[in-house]
Symmetry: C2
Subunit: 358 residues, 2 copies
DNA sequence: CTGAAAGCGCTAACAG
DNA sequence: CTGTTAGCGCTTTCAG
């Protein structure tokens, strides 16, 4: 019965004519081993293809791994609430393996709050960190510090230019934003009857300061101009926090423009636009948004929203933790990027996406 | 550092004034414990909310779990090849936990081959079984035997009526076929310009003997008749293995009928239909099929196939094993049904579905 | 019916 | 630099 086929530390110790302790030292590069024995053991290790038993290791080392997870305050935004769900799932899944997951949240609107959280997290000296990358510059600065203190980290949500010197996470978890814009455009193209004018709505967030919006818009535009070479007119409208509400601004916009389709790259923008569309009785306008927020599903069901693209924040967070665990516990190779599928959500399939995600 | 917050067997042994061995006996209902001590220990167990440490259990019991997995021969069908991929993934993932996964394949076309495999599998007395349910009656008979010998099993691929007495798997892994037909219809509806006549193509497999085809067709039809109350004409054509090839039969059919849309509920049917469509230069016909087979992707890329619905055979197999492991190793609650999302695949998003699925 | 004791494979503290 | 030793929490003989 026993797993006697697998070679144990004891076995290679015997083969090398040394003690288990010494073998353990070279396996974990703990030093204090002469070059000769080190080489000898290393050789046997490779020859036998030894792999350590993670179960035994976890039992033997009375180590509790601490993973810090940083996301915007879930109370501010349903999107991040979903993200928290995924973290909770990860939490219960790995609790029995002595992995503690500590959630730290920061203010979605305030970079300083993120910076403060970074400090707190650094002071707690965790074994690994998972952070949402919502603030570009600040995430970069944080990652630089993490490289210094050599804490492994994974970043999720928004891709950051990979070529930055001091940015080298274990892995990025997220989606290909550009391609996601292409998918949105494709669905709009399929659903539209007589396309003449369409628009991209940037609501609340400013395109300029937000890479993911820029990428999505570019993908969306490129589909029409390059891929199908249509001469459709594509507007861009930006709605920021001003004295008149978003709804009012949007209503005014759709009143003044005869749009057959609207693409809204932010998750909460879709339902705001829906409200405006319904108020203006423009139910024929094709509306494409993001994510399975409660209000988005409401309008999807009513037919006001035609499609949603699911960024699956739950899965993103869950997979982020998962990769960290694989790294910490199992020394597995972690892919530099883990891109989730671009899920197209409709009235008929959304419910199938709402339960089992793991 | 240690997980000293968690109560150990040693602790409750001390509390109950008995030895660890006795506690272990009541925890696992191994008998040989007086009613009094049993009750006492049981009480403490509940009061303290004791949960056993799966890591330690796995180390302590030198047990190698054997899981038998049964699928149709992957060489016969690319669909089952994908399935095998998922099993391989599971295999390497749980190998370090002393879980052995043994793949047994049978002939997709021959129920007897399945029955034989069942016997082989039963004789090996595995700890758990995962089987694809391609043959209705035979799967039922097998499950009956499994209940008798009390081997836990999970079934995936095709849902079997839950109300059958002797069919009670730990879990069913698959998709809601009916809803999947609805999704197909929805996409067809969105993509069609002037719908008058459409058809469901049953290729190779006969509807009558195949529940999943029946369900998918029903969902597809109900969408048009009930959900959007269209008076579109929906044909059903069945193409079986005869002297003239499938392609020839299909070509003849599309030549004689002016179809604006075709729904093909079997995965390999989609590319066969594509060929016929291209031969007849009917590229405007909306074609909806299933699954990310190489040839399907080829025609998706050419625009001949408009949409695919992904049944994600890899994930189905992987999740099946995963649930079995959760059951065996961690005593986790397993949901009676684990339904995968109904993924809509297009030219723009298919590649995002082809790598990370786990 | 019950307790004692030996281990699972690995880690870590401590001598030397 | 290296070996010995005592566990981690649970399972599993084996006596009694």
């Amino acid at each position: 019965m026993g797993k006697n086929k697998n070679i144990r530390i004891k076995d290679i110790a015997r083969m090398a004519g040394v003690s288990e302790g010494t073998v353990d030292r070279v396996i974990h590069n703990r030093g204090n081993v002469s070059v000769d024995t080190e080489k000898k053991i290393q050789g046997i290790l490779e020859k036998t293809g030894y792999t350590s038993n993670p179960i035994a290791r976890s039992l033997g080392s009375r180590k509790d791994y601490q993973i810090e997870v940083m996301i915007p305050n879930p109370k501010q935004d349903e999107y991040w609430q979903l993200s928290e769900t995924g973290i909770d799932k990860a939490l219960v899944e790995w609790e029995p393996y002595s992995i503690a997951i500590n959630l730290k949240t920061f203010d979605l609107e305030d970079p300083n709050s993120f910076v403060q959280t970074c400090d707190t997290v650094l002071q707690s000296e965790p074994d690994a960190i998972l952070t949402a990358s919502v603030f570009y510059e600040e995430t970069l600065a944080f990652s630089e510090k993490l490289q210094e203190v050599e804490i492994p980290y994974i970043v999720f949500n928004t891709q950051i230019d990979e070529n930055i010197k001091k940015f080298d996470p274990l892995c990025f978890v997220g989606q290909n934003m550009y391609q996601s814009g292409m998918v949105a455009a494709e669905m709009m193209h399929i659903a539209m009857r007589e396309p003449r004018e369409i628009a991209v709505f940037h609501i609340h967030e400013n395109v300029k300061s937000s890479i993911h919006l820029k990428e999505k818009e570019q993908g969306f535009r490129d589909y029409f101009t390059d891929f199908i070479q249509s001469d459709i007119k594509i507007h861009t409208f930006t709605f920021l926090d001003r004295k008149d509400s978003f709804e009012a601004q949007i209503e005014e916009c759709i009143q003044q423009n005869d749009l057959q389709g609207i693409f809204v790259p932010t998750s909460s923008g879709a339902y705001l636009t829906s409200q405006a569309l319904e108020n203006q009785s423009k139910k024929d306008t094709i509306l494409i948004g993001y994510d399975l927020l409660g209000k988005n599903i409401h309008y999807l069901n009513r037919g006001t929203i035609n499609f949603l693209i699911n960024q699956n924040p739950q899965l993103q967070a869950y997979q982020g933790v998962r990769h960290l665990v694989n790294h910490l516990l199992l020394n597995l190779e972690i892919p530099p990027a883990y891109l989730l599928p671009l899920e197209i959500i409709t009235r008929q399939n959304y419910s199938s996406f709402m339960n089992n995600n793991y």
